[in-house]
């Protein structure tokens, strides 16, 4: 099963079935690409204080929502018409679940864009933006890697994403502490710092969703559900 991963979903007797699965994969990655872009733009809008870009992100979230509905419909149609089994079934099930995670990432991006507008209006020297920059590039790379792992059916890469999530959690805790000291320093910072805190929280959630996507990729490739289990268990599953 491990060799020849790129072609893993082709060569059905039915060409239409090949096409259906290829389209499902492509559409999922299209949604993934869009969500990645939304996230990156939201963070750029925040750091650059770009209200127009933040507006754009909020408007585009509707498209992400629409893609979620379309993908769910596509997956349902495949189940109804093709009755997929084994790895095909796992692909379809994993897509249904991962789509929900991507949609949530989209929501988090929208949330960040909302705070970008709030913070831009207040227009003071940013506090905590270093942390935002740092964590956002981390979670955005995780999301990227998780989607890449899906495209290449690379469970080892998915496992690496799972491990990254622990680090993001630590970074989030450290950033929270830093912001708390800013707030203690001067009570006038509290309102701004709280906004930044919400942004950090949103980013941390993105990391969780990227981790979920990675877990579904492992399920898809290895046939074993590693959700709610330790990284060590996941390592065993992937290393078999």
């Amino acid at each position: 099963m491990k060799k020849d991963k790129e072609n893993a979903y082709g060569d059905h007797i039915s060409h239409d079935f090949n096409n259906d699965l290829a389209a499902l994969k492509a559409d999922f990655l299209k949604m993934g690409g869009m969500v990645e872009e939304q996230l990156n733009n939201a963070v750029i809008a925040l750091i650059d204080g770009d209200g127009n870009l933040a507006d754009e992100v909020r408007a585009k979230d509707k498209i992400v929502d629409k893609l979620e509905l379309e993908l769910d419909e596509e997956a349902t149609r495949i189940i109804a018409r093709r009755q997929p089994a084994a790895k095909d079934l796992r692909l379809v099930i994993a897509v249904i679940k991962m789509v929900a995670d991507l949609e949530r990432v989209g929501d988090e991006a929208k949330k960040i864009a909302k705070f970008a507008m709030v913070l831009a209006e207040e227009g003071q020297a940013p506090r905590g933006y270093i942390e935002v920059r740092h964590i956002s590039s981390h979670v955005s790379a995780m999301l990227h890697d998780a989607l890449d792992a899906f495209a290449r059916l690379d469970s080892e890469q998915a496992l690496r994403v799972m491990k990254e999530d622990k680090m993001v959690d630590e970074e989030y805790k450290a950033a929270t502490r830093t912001l708390l000291t800013f707030m203690m320093e001067d009570a006038r910072n509290i309102s701004r710092c709280m906004s930044v805190m919400w942004v950090l929280r949103a980013l941390e959630r993105v990391g969780d969703h990227a981790c979920n996507v990675a877990e579904h990729v492992i399920f898809m490739v290895e046939g074993e559900d590693v959700r709610h289990s330790s990284v060590e268990t996941a390592e065993k599953v992937v290393g078999r």
Binding site: A8, D11, I13, K25, R133, S137, A151, E224
Partner: protein, 296 residues
Amino acid sequence: MNTMNPSISAKADRRDQGAEIPVPQDKPEDTVIEEGKTVGKPFVNDPKFKLRNVNVSYGSDRAIKNISIDIGKHEVISFIGPSGCGKSTFLRCLNRMNDSIQICRVEGQLMLDDEDIYHSKRDVVELRARVGMVFQKPNPFPKSIYDNVAYGPRIHGLANRKSDLDEIVENSLRKAGLWEEAKDRLDAIATGMSGGQQQRLCIARAIAVSPEVILMDEPCSALDPIATARIEELIADMSKSYTIVIVTHSMQQAARVSDRTAYFHLGHLVEVNETNKIFTSPQHELTESYITGRFG
């Protein structure tokens, strides 16, 4: 703008990757199967049938190659695999239906409740009363519904009085889910019934002699979806009292009715496992290819 993360530029490539329709690299025929090696769980704790190193050949053609498997008590097990994989041949070994084929030779250990099925002193008629069979096409005798069911008990001397026989017929028809439809026309000729009813009559006929095992060779392939659903419902009910072995071409049927599923390929038993496992994450590449519709 994109300096934060290089991911955006890489996205387009990945999207193309996902969209391409791949060309098969490995044909399933290229996969080497090791003879006598079955992945998954071929053995159970309390077997009804214990089958070891079974080989079947028709003249010089080997149809079954060194298969070992247990079939559990009160278990429903499905045999699946592409045409010519040996699943029907193997099924027919279980009540010696292959005896009538002159060139067919069966070797290995085939035990039913620790008794040798192929022992030279074995009474085949008694064996077939214990191990009943239902065939692909319903094959009722051109007699009345009553006589079809009563035939087995009569020749096996299971009923001394008419009232006993009536009871056996009624019970068998009830178990086969046919009583309500047939009770008012027990004297009507069986071949006048619908295909699904005929097949249920054949099941009633098999049940009438109180078998321990029922073998079914594609029992639903000649039936419509409703009749199929009724037979499957019946299989689920019967599994409480009988061991059931089904050969089927319909993978969905195997997935729906059986506890375990066995995958045959070119005379080899490739994989046996719980049905859930086989249909969500099979271990063998060939099983995967077959159940996902990549060859067959």
